[in-house]
Amino acid sequence: MAAEEWAQELARHLGDRMISLTPFARTLGRVKFRPEAAREIFRAVHDDLGFDHLSMVGGIDWVDRREVIYTLWSDRRVAYLFLSADLVGEAPHIETASAVWPGANWHERETWELVGIQFDHHPDLRHLLMPDGYAFNPLLRSFKLHEPEELEVKTRHV
């Protein structure tokens, strides 16, 4: 399918809830959408565009914002598609995708505890990999594995 056709089809189904489409090698690209329209976006991508398989949910901490990325696969189109949304503020949150793709359940639990993104209306938002009551989000950039001094000691002995 030609790139313009695909962009038009996306625009027709997602409308102004979509912010941009960035091409990416060997996939159908990376769609950035408005987080407040997450529920409608998920429905449209699942029902209208045919991406019925959610491969993973991940988060990236860009310090000034957090990006949540959904990787989707469609058996009909035989291709991957990325959905991403920028979440700003002290308590980033977005609507859960598990109502549309039940398989999102654990991926969102993991992203919640490691990257600190709240998934609204999630059926079972508990700790998965970390112990209960763990108060940190290890995949944030502010979570340091070692102090800078340790690095200098290591350097001296190289």
Binding site: S55, G58, D75, V78, G103, W106, L129, L145, V158
Partner: protein
């Protein structure tokens, strides 16, 4: 009514690894399940942010301890895209051959553990014996039997040793005959059929909704295989069929894995033929200097810092022995990856446990979970 929750794990013969399956039962009936993961969480994604690109490969072997080479392949594919590096063709074929031997090693390990779960002891010993031959081959060219650290961003560490191709062909010939024996041991056994037929049924719709991939998905009649649908490395130049079955139960998963091993032998033979006649470099000639020598000290930093290296994003998806494994690597121009994310197929397969366990009996749990092929290392990462 006498409902109660019991723990199967974290130390239980069924789990094959460190995890806990909480089961709600009424008598023998399974009413609800709740897998508890995290016992083996080492924070591989976090540690990766603190390492050089080639140092992450060490962690990949620990990610899945029965399929280390497949995970290395997953990571180096993503890292190469993020760093704009192109591996030579010979390295691609060696990677594919390693992947397929790894698939056999993983599936034979699965076979050995699975049949022991359902009460057949002899196949366990046969399986372990044959897996050793594959490990011997790995040892001959990577130097290790479990933690290989063999692939590199831009190729593989070293070429195959002299005489390897002949040895590998012998192992293939041996294994393909053994698979017939495996089938005879299991499919002719009444115990096997009584404990496996019609258990843990998942239909195609439920599999796709819950993100299940790999042999579990193909056993439900969906012919999805990333090696065919989205070929990577040299798979587009190799001939093989996608193993699949229709029933979606434990027996179907057994049949799919057995057929996959036969197809792997077919792929390996093609790669061996190619490798025999196409000598060449196995590591890209034009590598960024900091990638080649991560520990060479320069100035006060102690590391070769890369300056003005282009940023990039790498994404890879491979068909791992357990299913579809995905990774992305974010290169923000520093000497460490900014973010690494892995998708483990077993993670998704176990998360759907409620779908294929509820409604069966306690004694059915070991064969069903055995047929899922849980590898905790890659679930927890």
């Amino acid at each position: 009514m006498s409902e109660m929750w019991i723990n199967m794990g974290p130390q239980h013969p069924m789990t094959h690894g460190l995890w806990n399956l909480r089961v709600k039962i009424d008598g023998e009936q399974v009413l609800d399940v709740d897998p508890e993961m995290g016992y083996l969480h080492r924070g591989i994604e976090k540690i990766s942010e603190d390492r050089h690109y080639n140092e992450v490969i060490t962690l990949m072997d620990r990610c899945c301890y029965v399929a280390g080479l497949s995970w290395e392949h997953l990571y180096v594919l993503a890292a190469e895209q993020a760093l704009h590096v192109q591996p030579p063709e010979r390295a691609e074929y060696i990677r594919v051959m390693s992947d397929e031997f790894q698939r056999i090693g993983s599936h034979v390990m699965w076979y050995a553990a699975f049949v022991q779960d359902i009460g057949l002891m002899t196949p366990f010993l046969y399986g372990m014996r044959d897996r050793d031959l594959v490990l011997d081959l790995f040892q001959s060219y990577t130097g290790a039997r479990m933690t290989y650290e063999y692939m590199r961003v831009g190729g593989v560490r070293n070429d195959l040793p002299p005489g390897f191709i002949g040895e590998a062909r012998k192992v293939c010939d041996w294994l393909i005959d053994r698979f017939v024996e495996y089938d005879q041991l299991c499919l002719n056994s009444d115990i096997f059929h009584k404990r496996c037929d019609g258990l843990g049924v998942m239909n195609a719709r439920a599999c796709i909704d819950h993100g299940i991939t790999g042999p579990m998905l193909r056993s439900a009649g969906v012919r999805r295989d990333l090696r065919k649908d989205r070929p990577y490395s040299a798979y587009d130049r190799l001939e093989f069929d996608v193993a699949h079955a229709e029933a979606g139960d434990v027996t179907a998963r057994y049949l799919v894995r057995m057929e996959e091993m036969r197809q792997s032998i077919r792929i390996i033979r093609q790669t061996l033929d190619w490798l025999e006649h196409h000598p060449g470099p196995v590591l890209a000639q034009e590598l960024p200097r900091w990638l080649g020598a991560p520990y060479a000290p320069v100035g006060r930093e102690g590391y070769l810092l890369k300056r003005n290296y282009p940023k990039g994003l790498g994404f890879s998806a491979i068909e791992e022995p357990h299913g579809e494994a995905l990774a992305y690597v974010v290169n923000e121009g520093s000497e460490h990856p900014y973010r690494v994310k892995f998708r483990s197929p077993v993670f998704a397969n176990v998360s759907a446990a409620r779908q294929y366990l509820v409604g069966y009996r306690i004694a059915d749990i070991p064969p069903i979970m055995g047929s899922v092929d849980v590898c905790v290392g890659e679930v927890d990462r």
